[in-house]
């Protein structure tokens, strides 16, 4: 029984094949199929047939469509003409095109960045949320905490049926990890991306486990999952599964899994995950409502109404913590963050993991990109219309010959299309070239492969066609509305045209440019202000070592620290030396509630730092009242030093009043306030000052700060390293300079600064291109007028003034709009900063002059050219 070849393949063949070829091609293939079926069976013959059809799919088999449609011919004509017009006036055309290219390139670059930002955490299972809480003390919002209590996850799952699953992450897995190799070498690293997590971690998130069983890797105590790169760090090419790794010298963990390195667009970035059961004194803490260090994620049922669930969560803790809340006059509200929203919408959250919260910046950048694009199109409109004069004769003749208005409009739209099309193509090239430079210069991550993403491709199409229409319609109508008679006679415009559309466009362009310039000045000023502000402490020439965390026993680290301290004291190049639990510029996770006689029973949250007695003197933190702590006084283990902010928080009216009072009076653990020190900035000046309580503990050793006495850093560092390796062979030597470390906090501000400055520069540049176009337009009109004026005795400067006056009006108009608008925007922007520079009149004066000078320069380049021409030349032109 003969089976015909696949129908679709035959249809496809008939579709593409030219009529005069279909007989021989299809005939041969079907005949072949017929015989092959007998020999090889229907399947193979069918496949063979399909393959042959595909092989014939080539230009020589295609039908040749005859282009005999008039319209298509015209279209080809338009394109040809477009290229010719471009070539005829290269300067104008290139100005026009480069404006577009710049605008589109900016827009693309920013879109790439924005899409990258928006793509955060889009690979996790849906319906996953992070539970966070707002904490109120005495009805005042004290913190928006990302971590919550360990009991939250457990009780949510028990009490609310819509919560399917929860997982908790405890961020205490940082420290020294070490592995001993077969030849006795100790591989050791300080890891800061280590955490503890519940066993269903890999069920909750979209992170891929390369080795190990999803349900078992974190199910037992002393298990650890490493990222691929971490595994390579410790085990090289060997299989890490089943091997031991030691954590802080005391705990031996079994490697049970290897996970893929986390993608960049994840707000979680972990290298090591230890099973939560390994945590010291683990007991699941189902009743613990006081210890808020657990990042908690839940997955809810698909049908869940999130608003309803949010309402339940809002009151959840009021119920559960009633007693505690009443005692300390506090309250807390849980709320949900959808995981993909965490990266952008976590502004103002405390103790967050990763650098989250940039929605404002993203919106801001998008707005700038859009504005620049609009400026570029406006430019195009301006320049194309300006060229209308030059082309008016062409249009006139075309009309006389009988070209319809519709055809003319299509012609000009085609030209606009060509500009936009090539603008986009070149812009893509520019973007590809620019990306590596940008990533280098400001460390802004832009992924060029996103150019191939669907969103961008659609955007590009919209850009090309939308842009062509937007920028092409007005010039098309202006150009085609010329009356052939007046055009061909040669006079149809005078310099004094009424206030028109183009003038409006220029005002718009300059309004935007002025706002951007003023903004730039402010951004730069604010950054300077923050960096130059006194921090309240001295971080110069301070070398910080990450303290040892790998110990061999109970008092081991304290003992070894004593030895290390003695050795450092021998070194004359080290002026001073202090140990502390935290350093300036490092986010402080240690916060606790205290009561005082003035706090009316409330527990007030205050940051805690453990320091030794040299801390204040070395960092030059001034004493306001009382005294510093001293190890010579035995009682100082029960003493505390507060900063001014803490004094204010606890309700004391002055520093002196606080001295002699206690924290937690009448309770088992209480501390006497012996001193008050000046505030210093723990973080950048974006943040407020924090209340801080300093406790005395000479063994606090998270960080060792060394004040250096010398400029020969390599020598002193290598000397210290030698001593370190002798005393702490089990701990890595990690150091950094505190001033650099502190300034790194300004990274995002510096980025923003750079981006803003460059875009503002581009915007003004493009706007000037537009102005140049417009000036050329008017000056071109006024050639004859200028000629006559010159004949009658006007000087070059007089004529230039005359021309400049027209534009000065436009610029001043733009300023009148831009100044109040930018004042409002600048005030808004500054609100984000705890410490704000003043906006000041200076910015406006400087910015205003800057714009005027640039604009007038642009105007005079062209007008000087024309006003210097010999009037005989212009007047003879008739």
């Amino acid at each position: 029984m003969h089976k015909p070849p696949p129908r679709w393949a035959n249809r496809f063949l008939e579709w593409y094949c030219a009529n005069h070829l279909v007989d021989e091609i299809q005939g041969d293939l079907q005949e072949a199929h017929f015989y092959r079926q007998k020999e090889h069976g229907p399947t193979k013959a069918g496949l063979w047939f399909v393959w042959d059809v595909i092989r014939f799919f080539r230009p020589s088999s295609f039908s040749k469509y005859q282009i005999n449609s008039n319209q298509l011919k015209m279209f080809k004509d338009h394109i040809k003409l477009g290229f010719r017009v471009f070539r005829r006036n290269k300067v104008y055309s290139s100005i026009n095109l480069s404006g577009l290219v710049l605008g589109i390139a900016c827009c693309l670059l920013i879109s790439l960045h924005v899409i990258g930002e928006l793509s955060y955490d889009d690979f996790h299972p849906e319906n996953t949320y992070r539970v966070v809480m707002d904490m109120y003390k005495k009805n005042e919002l004290s913190a928006r905490s990302t971590p919550v209590y360990p009991a939250v996850g457990i009780t949510l799952k028990e009490d609310l049926p819509e919560v399917e699953e929860f997982t908790r992450i405890l961020p205490f897995g940082g420290g020294v990890y070490s592995v001993e190799t077969e030849d006795g070498q100790l591989i050791r690293f300080n890891e800061d991306k280590g955490v503890y997590a519940d066993q269903n971690f890999f069920r909750m998130f979209g992170f891929e486990l390369i080795k190990g069983n999803v349900d078992e890797v974190l199910s037992k105590p002393d298990q650890i999952v490493l990222s691929e790169s971490a595994a390579k760090r410790y085990f090289g090419e060997n299989d890490p599964i089943g091997k031991n790794i030691s954590f802080r010298g005391e705990q031996t963990l079994l490697v049970t899994g290897v996970m893929q390195d986390y993608p960049k667009n994840s707000h979680l970035q972990f290298d090591m995950i230890i099973s939560l059961r390994s945590y010291d004194r683990f007991d699941d803490w189902p009743q613990n409502w006081t210890w808020y260090d657990f990042y908690t994620y839940i997955r809810v049922d698909k049908q869940t109404d999130i608003t309803l669930l949010s309402e339940k969560l809002d009151g959840f803790l009021l119920e559960k913590k009633k007693e505690i809340n009443e005692r300390f006059s506090s309250r807390e509200h849980l709320w949900l963050q959808h995981v993909p929203d965490i990266h952008l919408y976590s502004e103002g959250m405390s103790w967050d993991m990763g650098e989250n919260g940039g929605s404002a910046q993203v919106y801001f950048l998008s707005a700038i990109a859009f504005l620049i694009l609009i400026i570029a199109w406006v430019n195009f409109i301006n320049l194309s219309t300006a060229r209308a004069v030059k082309r008016s004769k062409e249009v006139g003749i075309r009309k006389v010959v009988g070209v319809e208005k519709k055809q003319l409009i299509i012609q000009f739209l085609t030209e606009a299309f060509l500009y936009n099309f090539f603008g986009v193509v070149i812009a893509i090239g520019v973007v590809l070239i620019a990306i590596p430079f940008i990533s280098n210069a400001i460390d802004l991550s832009i992924d060029p492969f996103l150019l191939l993403s669907k969103k961008i491709l659609i955007g590009i199409l919209v850009l090309i066609f939308g842009g062509s229409l937007l920028s092409g319609l007005y010039p098309a109508f202006v150009l085609t509305s010329f009356k052939p008679v007046s055009v061909l006679k040669g006079s149809f415009y005078s310099r004094k045209t009424s206030f028109g559309f183009r003038q409006l466009l220029v005002i718009f362009q300059f309004t935007v440019s002025i706002i951007l310039i003023l903004g730039t000045i402010l951004v730069v000023k604010q950054l300077r202000f923050m960096q130059n502000q006194s921090l309240g402490l001295n971080v110069d020439q301070t070398l910080v070592l990450r303290g040892p965390s790998s110990s061999r026993g109970d008092n081991d680290l304290a003992n070894r620290q004593e030895i290390f301290r003695n050795q450092l004291e021998q070194n004359s190049e080290i002026k001073a030396f202090t140990t502390s639990s935290n350093i300036p510029g490092e986010e402080n996770f240690w916060i606790s509630g205290f009561a005082t006689n003035k706090s009316e029973g409330a527990l007030l949250s205050c940051y805690i730092i453990s320091v030794d007695d040299d801390f204040f003197e070395q960092y030059e933190i001034d004493l306001v009242a009382g005294r510093y702590m001293s190890k010579d006084l035995q009682t100082d283990t029960a003493s505390v030093v507060l900063n001014r902010e803490a004094v204010r928080l606890f309700g004391f009216s002055s520093a002196e009043e606080a001295i002699g009072e206690s924290l937690n009076p009448g309770r088992r653990r209480q501390w006497k306030i012996v001193g008050v020190v000046e505030n210093y900035h723990q973080a950048t000046l974006r943040e407020d000052l924090d209340p801080m309580a300093f406790f005395h503990n000479s063994n606090a050793n998270n960080f060792l700060s060394l004040k250096l006495n010398t400029d020969n850093y390599p020598r002193v560092i290598s000397a210290i390293e030698d001593q370190w390796d002798e005393i702490y062979p089990d701990n890595p030597f990690d150091f950094f300079f505190l001033d650099e470390f502190f300034n790194r906090q300004y990274k995002s501000d510096i980025q923003f600064n750079a981006v803003f400055v460059s875009f503002a520069g581009l915007a003004i540049f493009v706007a000037c291109l537009g102005l140049f176009g417009l000036v050329s337009f008017t000056v071109e009109q006024a050639r004859k007028e200028i000629g006559i004026r010159k004949v009658l005795g006007a000087s070059v400067s007089k004529i230039m003034l005359l021309l400049a006056k027209d534009y000065a009006k436009l610029i001043i108009g733009a300023m009148i709009i831009a100044f109040p608008l930018s004042f409002w925007l600048m005030t808004k922007w500054l609100e984000d900063f705890a410490y704000q520079t003043t906006i000041g009149v200076g910015i406006f004066i400087f910015g205003g002059f800057f714009v005027i000078i640039i604009a007038l320069l642009t105007v005079s380049v062209k007008s000087l050219n024309v006003s210097k021409t010999n009037p005989a030349v212009t007047l003879r032109e008739e």
Partner: protein, 107 residues
């Protein structure tokens, strides 16, 4: 246009000559498989035939349709005079060369 013949072209031309009045895409490709022991696709055969026709070695006319072809007509190819003379001169040149071949003793 170059009148040179490639190996494949020459073989196909020979096959067309051999098949006499029944040379069209499918038969040529089958014949090629039988004699050369190698498959070439029908589309490749079509290309070669078209090229030969352009060079003037063969000419074509539409032939009858058959049931196996699904009612499609054949394009039948025949060798032209030029085709024959070219084949002959190629053969002659080759024979001449063969005549000059020294005798090899294969042991």
């Amino acid at each position: 246009m170059s009148k040179n013949l490639g190996t494949l072209e020459e073989t196909v031309l020979l096959i067309v000559a051999v098949l006499e009045k029944d040379a069209y895409g499918y038969t040529v490709s089958e014949e090629y498989f039988k004699n050369a022991g190698q498959r070439i696709s029908i589309s490749a055969v079509h290309t070669v035939l078209k090229r030969l026709e352009k060079k003037g070695y063969i000419h074509s006319e539409m032939g009858g349709a058959t049931k196996e072809r699904g009612g499609r007509k054949k394009r039948i190819f025949k060798v032209t005079k030029l085709g024959f003379t070219t084949l002959e001169s190629l053969q002659e040149a080759r024979m001449k060369l063969w005549g000059m071949m020294p005798k090899y003793h294969t042991s």
